[in-house]
Subunit: 328 residues, 2 copies
Amino acid sequence: MGELRREPIVRRWVVITTENPKGPSDYLAFKFPFRVAESGEPCPFCRGNEWMTPPETFSTGTGGGGWTVRVVPNKSPFFHIEGDFDRRAEGMYDLMGSIGAHEIVVEAPDHPPSFATMDPPQIRQVLLAYRQRFIDLERDPRIHQMLILKNYPGIFNRHPHSHLLAMPVVPRGIDEEILGTLDYYQRKERCIFCDIVREELSARKRVVMETSSFLVFCPFASRFPFETWIIPKTHSPDFQAITEEMMGDLSVILQSLFARFRTLLSDPPYSFVVHTSPIQGQFHRDEYHWHVEARLRIGLSEGFEWGTGFFVNPTPPENAAELLRDSG
Amino acid sequence: MGELRREPIVRRWVVITTENPKGPSDYLAFKFPFRVAESGEPCPFCRGNEWMTPPETFSTGTGGGGWTVRVVPNKSPFFHIEGDFDRRAEGMYDLMGSIGAHEIVVEAPDHPPSFATMDPPQIRQVLLAYRQRFIDLERDPRIHQMLILKNYPGIFNRHPHSHLLAMPVVPRGIDEEILGTLDYYQRKERCIFCDIVREELSARKRVVMETSSFLVFCPFASRFPFETWIIPKTHSPDFQAITEEMMGDLSVILQSLFARFRTLLSDPPYSFVVHTSPIQGQFHRDEYHWHVEARLRIGLSEGFEWGTGFFVNPTPPENAAELLRDSG
């Protein structure tokens, strides 16, 4: 079991994993990344090695040729499906059990390198898995926020996969967005994300590409070089309400965007996250708007963001968008 | 000139450097870090190469043997001392010139590797330089926040140095702390940092070391493995009010702490930041309390913080403090 501890000044929740705490030797080992791939051990996410993971919670394509996408509980989860919140104080501090769910979406049966080189129909299966797990998990009344995070390449395993997190609290990153959207809505009676879509379609300086359902653009105040957002053109608070047509569009966009990154920047490491409205209580139906935020992990300002709370970006989004447009 | 652009949802300021924007080739080059050291070019921060930097703003030890610590304006500053705020809108967005100051504190005339192996008297000269520059820069009415950030090793140059930033806005990281301290003070009429000092001295589970002026501890909700804070034991909002005696204490602590990191974790990369009260208007005299936050750059949860707004820390601060105590 892990603990959710609340930072008392800023009141941010931090997950502290208390079982098998990591000591210095674990960090020394980590100086050589991608241990699984290098070790020659069998990959637990490859087809044929299903026995190495906990039982799956969802899979696609199991008709005849075997699964195409497979979702399994994480063996070292940040949030645990079993256990008790046990909310309590320790001195002046607050903590509780890290209840929730942490699953791994295995995006393919083998090791194609990236969304950049996957077929859009395979990416569509991944999106289907995200949607189905969101729909299942949102029935759990303990869950307040769901989130998808993908790192390429993976930190511990190069097999293409993403993290699905179902959390008992709305984490700081989403909460800040929520507060901002509520404030904007109070002043304008409009969704700020919808206004951004209109602004970007009118200015045309930061647009990367466009489909009937989505706008892909580099945000005005991009924190990272080549930061790119993918946003539904019409108001939609919840990722899990994504339609079949939108999944088709989004799979083409994801393949194309990461292929452009690959062309421009020689197979760079990237991450993306799906931000969606908190669940429970049907809050924020008019104000929040789901979207995908993608970034490259190539920043020069490592440490600045942590130390100062501000980001420094040496590539203006207007330049980034132009380069990405022209590399399609 | 750079721009300060305001992210419209979360309302975080981002520095976008618009002159000489960095394109893909700049990032490809950066895949091989420490370019200056590898290139064989002369180091602009070494004694004898003073001609390579802009004129210094402060130095110590210039009596006979040459300078011991030297402060110079950064050649590629994030904040510019000259120019105009030019606050304006662009469509729905807000921006202004990135006015302020960005100086480099060269911590020694040659390349000793780290605070871990420097003599405390030399570190004391560095603290003196911080204090003097803070006192000079706070007279500029355009400056609202000052901050020190040190990365070891440096990103572009291995010569030991720290960044001194004087900013026209209070950045998000400090602003979040300020809001938290104000809220706490409203409820309790006590400084939350002072309460944390009392709590940690009473619990004794997370203390690393202690002098007459400072407490060194791993915070209850540490975001990073081995995160360590250094905090004055008595209430003090401003770093620049540091006394001679406190500077002596702090120089011994900094040397000892980073030597412990070195012993435990085989010369790991680390960073620290000095957080101090915003200036102008004499706000927050009773609520804010300056301190040093130090971290190792060895996290396993790269990407999680950005993607989710929460941190995952696999080393409980109680374990970290014990290991650090025992390695002194």
